[in-house]
Symmetry: C2
DNA sequence: TCAAAAGTGTTAGGCTTACACCCATGC
DNA sequence: GCATGGGTGTAAGCCTAACACTTTTGA
């Protein structure tokens, strides 16, 4: 058996990785978490967090583990996006990548360097640097899927703290959809879905009328509406 | 290097396969193409067509190739469904499977045994035999996705010949959705989408009034409506 | 002439959209 | 008292859903 290559098969096997597109809303724009590569190929370039699948975990567990290792973020709901498989998408060897996307609130999160001291940072999706591999394509697909799922699911709430105001929620929708929404119609619509309850508390920020705060009635599940 | 195991890596690599859920409508029911396994594991059991990824093809090409080899079916539009990755889903070794689904008309197709003489056959989705691996789960996911996409895409037309009547189209919808639809509303709705044109010909079958036949205006693309 | 499927409009109700002003607070 | 964002209702039009009879053909 070749030295340092103890894993041998009768047929060639590709490597399998996960890559994660983690969105947040920060500074009034939709942003994506990137890490700076410390090793070739694409050394110094920015890339999506992710890494190789272990033999004792499934893809979702792998994505969660890599996110934790590289950014310190734990326990997010991850949704499988697409599996990329162009034969030349990684110059080192054949690599299949199952991609996931997730959402988180930015203000409770300080992306930090992982154990190997890579840098992690948020970038606005409309001003991303050049990305390693086919990661630009992955981000674009994730952005489309996110916008498409907004009104058919409860994913938007993952971008907000446990309690929030309707204006905050509307700002999330407007940022993701990149369009202004009518305040009265937005409130009517979101309340008609019966997924929110008033907390009874008020948000008192700034010199204006306090806003009612709400929470999701069933925060555990990401529901598909209709 | 171990005899008969010439492909060696520094880290363990999973095998990667594709599996395809191919739907048709036959005998007024939604049916799925299965092949009978000739080798262990799950020998003699029915399973989805599929097989191992080659190093010089992407997953979609693999799915198309396997479909051709195992069933003689070529050139279908395949849509990626989900990638399954439970560590124990294949008893032989660690296998990741990217799954695809597709639709075809049944009457132009005679699923035939591939080169290794396996049997291929259609089964109604409501009366499937026990399936090998996690293939029952894959079929169920494909069924859900198919129903969800009916009204947002043009996939339904793949189940029909190039020209067809509105009654035939309605029967496809009713079979997939498993519910009766109102004839006038169905026709109004489908014609309002402006994706059909009259051929000018009529279908003269049986002792009743002939039906106008239609074709899809742009048959090349699977469109997402809206 | 009968059986069988093709073809065709209208109405009511619900949903969506557009739109403007008063309220409560901090400074 | 003024600036700031919070909060509220109505009307028009559009879309959806329910519903039944006439037409054309082959046997």
């Amino acid at each position: 058996m070749p030295v340092n290559q103890p894993y041998c098969y009768t047929h060639p096997h590709p490597a399998v990785t996960t890559d994660i597109v983690l969105f947040t809303i920060r500074e009034e724009s939709l942003q994506v978490l990137l890490i700076q590569r410390t090793n070739p190929p694409f050394r110094q370039m920015w890339a999506l967090p992710g890494g190789f699948l272990n033999m004792d975990e499934n893809l979702e567990q792998c994505a969660n583990r890599e996110l934790l290792e590289e950014t310190g973020i734990d326990g997010l709901y991850l949704e499988q996006l697409y599996t990329f498989s162009a034969p030349d998408r990684d110059p080192r060897e054949r690599v299949i990548s199952a991609t996931y996307f997730a959402l988180t609130q930015s203000d409770t999160l300080h992306p930090k360097a992982g154990s190997d001291a890579q840098e992690a940072a948020w970038f606005p999706i409309s001003g991303l640097p050049d990305l390693a591999f086919d990661h630009a394509e992955i981000v674009e697909l994730a952005r489309q899927r996110l916008a498409a799922k907004l009104n058919y699911s409860t994913i938007a709430f993952q971008l907000l703290p446990e309690t929030f105001t309707l204006s905050q929620l509307q700002a999330v929708y407007e940022t993701i959809l990149d369009e202004k929404l009518d305040k009265r119609n937005f409130r009517k619509g979101v309340l008609a879905r019966n997924i929110l309850m008033e907390t009874g508390d008020y948000s008192r920020t700034g010199n204006h009328r306090p806003a009612k705060t709400y929470r999701v009635i069933n925060p555990t599940r990401v529901e598909i509406i209709k």
